[in-house]
Symmetry: C2
Subunit: 235 residues, 2 copies
């Protein structure tokens, strides 16, 4: 009984953590965050803050950057700038391929490590915050339903049936995730979605735009600070 | 075109590497070995020696030992002794569960990293040396055909169809792997299978026994040294 929860420091995984705590109690949960050479490594501190808020144990594991040798992912340190456009626009232009911010097989890497930790700790589940907006087109193939289903089978088979992969948000879109988080009193003010390096979120990268939009759709103002003026709904 | 080959320092993966070189040429191959807190970390040097022999690039990546916190796997440093019995006997006694030397989801961890490296380097395949003797019973669930098939789907889906997982030895047993290696002039004298820490192979752990048996079935003497006297076939 219990769960390893992938915790990125963003809002989706914070909602996953709140759901896990409600289901199993905080003493049966381990949050797992990663340092993998991401530009926005500030998110690790956000993950720690969220885990501390909920008084849950957190492990910050290191992924060896050597395995990304040669990758041009703009999310990785040393590579080109992150686009300041919405994913809708980016996908429209890039067509069939992955987007520039795709990190090679990142979800596979993180979920494998979560499965190993769950088996080691005798926790029966691994959860992560994939939701229905994640897999738009072929932008992030490691967020697709086919990836999720195959990875779930691989984790179950590879651990002798001891670990099950769950994605509790998979039927919700990002606006639905905000709604659920509000109900669960998730401290969104402690989270961070921005892909840039600055402490204040840029408000212009694809993930900032998605987040802002998700709050707007709920008629809410995001509690975090942005570097540009955002037009929130009138009261 | 090209392949990332999981290279453990043992004989199966050395045969995989020889097959990959024959198929794609050495300049299109990267060997990938891991340091993961294994007792028998000497195997990493063997992997390097095999890669050097074939003049192939090798990456030695680190798996963060934190994700094995709480694991009782006897293959990991700090845990109890490795049994000096054959897998046949061990499995007979342990019944349905995994064996003591099972490292939580190890193949999932390694294959995920290999997939990330292959995508980063624009190599189309990942290969590993699973063979038909590996998955006996439920001893090593991450060597089972079901794991292989699911993981192959997860890697394909999660990389947008850019990386394919192959297991070229999957229809061979270990004796067949020796036979194939001899044909391909694999330098078995540079490999190591033993799970113990000593430089000379113990000849008594499950993996030493399997290796010795595989050479015997081919009427051959294993070129590596053993700490005990092995009764090889008469000439």
């Amino acid at each position: 009984m219990g769960q390893v929860v992938l915790l990125s420091g963003g809002m989706d995984s914070a909602v996953c953590l709140a759901l896990a705590i409600r289901k199993y109690g905080k003493e049966n949960i381990i949050a797992l965050a990663f340092s993998y050479g991401q530009k926005h490594s500030r998110e690790i501190q956000n993950a720690q803050n969220v885990a501390n808020y909920f008084d849950v144990k957190i492990v910050v594991a290191n992924i060896d950057a050597q395995i990304f040798q040669g990758s041009s992912s703009t999310l990785l340190q040393g590579n080109g700038p992150i686009e300041h456009r919405s994913y809708g626009e980016i996908i429209k232009e890039s067509g069939e391929g992955t987007v520039d911010t795709y990190v090679p097989f990142r979800n596979g890497l993180m979920l494998s490590q979560a499965a190993a930790l769950a088996y080691s700790q005798e926790l029966a589940e691994v959860s992560y915050g994939a939701h229905s907006d994640d897999a738009a087109g072929s932008a992030y193939p490691d967020c697709s339903p086919l990836f999720f289903e195959s990875m779930a089978k691989a984790i179950s088979a590879g651990t002798g049936g001891n670990v099950t992969l769950v994605a509790p948000l998979i039927r919700n879109n990002k606006a639905g995730v905000v709604k659920m988080g509000i109900k669960l009193s998730v401290p969104f003010e402690l989270t961070r979605s921005c892909y840039e390096t600055d402490s204040v979120s840029c408000g212009q990268c694809g993930t900032c735009r998605d987040r802002i939009e998700a709050f707007k759709k709920n008629g809410l103002k995001d509690p975090i600070e942005y570097a540009i003026k955002i037009e929130w709904n009138k009261d």
